[in-house]
Every structure is written in structure tokens, then in C-alpha cells.
């Protein structure tokens, strides 16, 4: 049981990193990685929303869709549930904790219906995860995203001052760097053979 959870965490952070291995959530990854501080804020927001989305979609999947035989409504229902819930939580945070809202608020609407968020919900169902496993997978997926975007923001801050060929300045060199980071993460592929065999 615990070993399963550890495996899920390692898988979501390193082996199947949402950004660099599954290629989900690329838009916030590229859009909000110019500065380390904003990347960190985005990462925390993604951890929060992914955990929340995993938990709530598990409840709706196993409490509503499966009993009624409405599995084919997954996409619509997930989007509806996640978007509404995040919006609701955003309102509550804005009222109850202005400090937290300042740190998290501007990122929440950007990622509510992001593919990485929807992706984690689908993966949870596909892998037949329990409620706890789903939540852990969501949390670790968010941590993996944070790891990727923070590393990438560090790279981009250096790219800004590096001498780049004129044709590659800006987004092109950023995309190349992201690709190289992804290739680097391929090195984690055989991690499970090391750890569990």
C-alpha cells in the first residue's frame, strides 16, 4: 500500500512528469516561466488545483458516473466540476485570505481547465486508483509540474542574458531548451527497474 503510494509519487514527479514526459500543461509551462518567482507561484497553484481536481473527480466518477453508467460523459462532467470548484475556491480565498489570494489568485483562472488538470483526472480513472491514490497522484503531478517549470524558469532567466543567434532569440531557444530538458528526463525511464526489481 505505502509502496504503491511511493511508486505513484515517483512516477508522477520523475518518470511520467506531466510536462516533460506526458507533454501536458505546456501552455502555462511556456507562458509563466519567464521569471523564477512567477514560475514558483504557478507551480504552487497547479499543485493546489491538481490535488483538488483529482479528489473531486474521483468522487463524481465513482459516486455518480459509474453507478449511472454514464462514463461517456467524463470529459464534460470533469470540466464542469473542476472549473466550478476552482472558481468557488478562488472566491472563498479572495474573501477569507487576501494574502493567499495575492500569491495564488492570478494563476487559478489560467489553469482551471488546463489539459494537465483534466489529464490527471483521466489518468486516475484509467489506472483504477483509489481515492487516496488519486489525491496523491494529483499532488505529486503538481509537484512534478512545479519541478519542471522552476527548472525551466532558471534556464530561461539565464537565456535572457546569454548570447543567442538572432534567429533563435526568445521563444525558439526556449522551445529548444524545453526539448533538451525533456530528453534529460527520459533518463528516469528505467528508474522503476532499479528501484522495484
Amino acid at each position: 500500500m505505502t509502496l504503491d503510494l511511493v511508486a505513484i509519487v515517483i512516477s508522477a514527479i520523475l518518470v511520467n512528469n506531466f510536462v516533460l514526459m506526458r507533454f501536458l500543461g505546456i501552455c502555462p509551462f511556456l507562458g509563466v516561466s519567464r521569471r523564477l518567482s512567477t514560475a514558483m507561484g504557478m507551480g504552487v497553484a497547479v499543485i493546489f488545483v491538481m490535488t483538488l481536481a483529482s479528489a473531486i473527480t474521483w468522487i463524481f466518477q465513482h459516486g455518480l458516473l459509474t453507478p449511472l453508467g454514464l462514463d461517456y460523459l467524463q470529459t464534460v462532467v470533469y470540466i464542469l466540476v473542476i472549473a466550478s470548484l476552482v472558481q468557488f475556491v478562488e472566491m472563498v480565498i479572495q474573501k477569507t485570505s487576501p494574502a493567499l489570494y495575492q500569491a495564488l489568485g492570478i494563476y487559478l483562472p489560467i489553469i482551471t481547465t488546463n489539459c494537465a488538470i483534466l489529464g490527471v483526472a483521466f489518468i486516475n480513472v484509467r489506472e483504477y486508483y483509489s481515492f487516496l491514490e488519486s489525491s496523491v497522484n494529483g499532488f505529486a503531478g503538481g509537484v512534478g509540474f512545479t519541478l519542471a517549470i522552476v527548472l525551466f524558469a532558471g534556464v530561461r532567466e539565464r537565456l535572457d542574458v546569454a548570447e543567442t543567434p538572432a534567429a533563435l532569440q526568445g521563444v525558439p531557444i526556449a522551445l529548444i531548451s524545453a526539448g533538451l530538458m525533456s530528453v534529460g528526463f527520459f533518463g528516469f525511464r528505467n528508474l522503476f527497474h532499479f528501484l522495484f526489481s
Binding site: L64, L68, G69, L70, Y72, L73, V76, V77, L80, V81, S84, Q87, F88, M91, V92, Q94, K95, T96
Partner: protein
Amino acid sequence: MVAAVITLFVMGLAFGGLLAVAARKFAVDADPRTEAVQAALPGVNCGACGYAGCSAFAEAAARGDARPDGCPAGGPALALQLAAILGKKVEAREREVAQVLCAGSRSEAPDRAVYSGIPDCRAAVLIAGGPKGCTYGCLGLGTCVRVCRFDAMHMNANDLPEVSGDRCTGCTACVKACPRGMIVMAPASRRVHIRCNSRDRGAVVRKVCTVGCIACRLCVKECPREAITFADNLARIDYARCDNCQACVKVCPMHTIGISPERVQARGA
């Protein structure tokens, strides 16, 4: 089919209701002063205040981060208005107006090459420093005129930009746009300006321009208030000391020092 329709309908209704209730219950009152400040601002988003636009400045002003006189485009009248909204006091600060520091049009400072690229100074300067003989002077392609959002600049008959002092709001958009860095801000009451930007030696200036500063220092010696200083082969005027006596204008052998027209009425004063 029916089950799917009912399920989605009920869910949509439930979440819609939840959000509607939450919007009421958790509503946060925005600072009403933000809107009042924004309504008073010019609203052209020129960015001279250093914020991303007029609404960003309004938020900062309501928070207390931006000063009431932080909008250069609005001038002292707006500063007083904002101070009243924000409950703060402002000190009078003299309005600044852009001054073009080059008098060498094509007839005085001829081109050394023909430029037929994009008609923009910022583009022209990239090609071997631009077509003009003087590498410090005005390229005359009117980039400053186009970036002015207040219609305060125009190209005169000699293809040199001219600032209309009454319309200039001091937003510094032209100062930032000029690739030669030859537009500066000067207090509106100062009328004497050394209209040259060349750091070349006198002999070099003479070859490329008939109205450039040749570094003779006559104006420095003549000024009774020691308002003119000299560095990098170029005379510079200290606007804080100048009292518009125009002694320097008479001695300048190149007629580089010019007098801006006297303003009948200062804007917003």
C-alpha cells in the same frame, strides 16, 4: 440518454447556483478610489508613469504606491485632482517639455548615403549608423512624431521634428523612441537650448554640419550664471541655473544655441 440529460442539467444547475450564491456571499468590495482615479486619468496608456497602463497606475495610486503627481501626462491639474481623491497633498513641480537637440536638417548637415529602407529612425540607425553625415544628429524620419500620442510633435519644412510646447505633456515617449538619444526633457519656462548632440571634435563637426557645436567654449565663458558646462566636445546647459538671459545665443559662432518660443499660457497651470 434521458439520464445523461438530467444528470448534466442538475449538475449545471447545482454548480451555477453554488457560484451565484458564492459570488454574493464572498463578494469583495473593490477600492472605489481606484475607479475615481482611473476616470480622472488621460486614459491613453502611454506608460510614462512607469506602470503598465492607466488602470495599473490607478490601482497603485489607490494602494498608496504611486504618487498623485505620478502621471506626467496629466500635469499639475491632474495631480491636484488625484490628490483630492486620494486625500494627499502635492507639491508644485514644474512641467517638463521635450526639446530636440539637433538643428541640422539636410541643408545644414547633408546625408552621406541614400537610405531607402523602412522609413523609421530606429530601423535606419541599424544600417551603418544611418544615412546622415553626422552620426549624432537627427535622422529626420519622424519616429518621434509617430510615437507622440498627444499630437505635440510635427516635422517642420526642413524635416526636423518640432515640439509644440503647449501640447507636450512630458510623457517622454519621444525621448525613449529616439535612437540617437537627442531628445531631452527641459523645464517649460527655460527657453535657451543648445541644439546639438555631437560628441565629435570641432573639426569633424564642421565637415558634416554647418550649425553643430564645434566645442569653442565661447558660450561657457559668456554665461554670467555658469549654467553651461562642457564635456565630450559638447556644451550642455544646466536648466536649473539658466535664467533665459540669452547671452550665449549672441556669441555662438555656429548659431547652434536656439530659443524656444515663449509660451503664452502654460498648460494646466
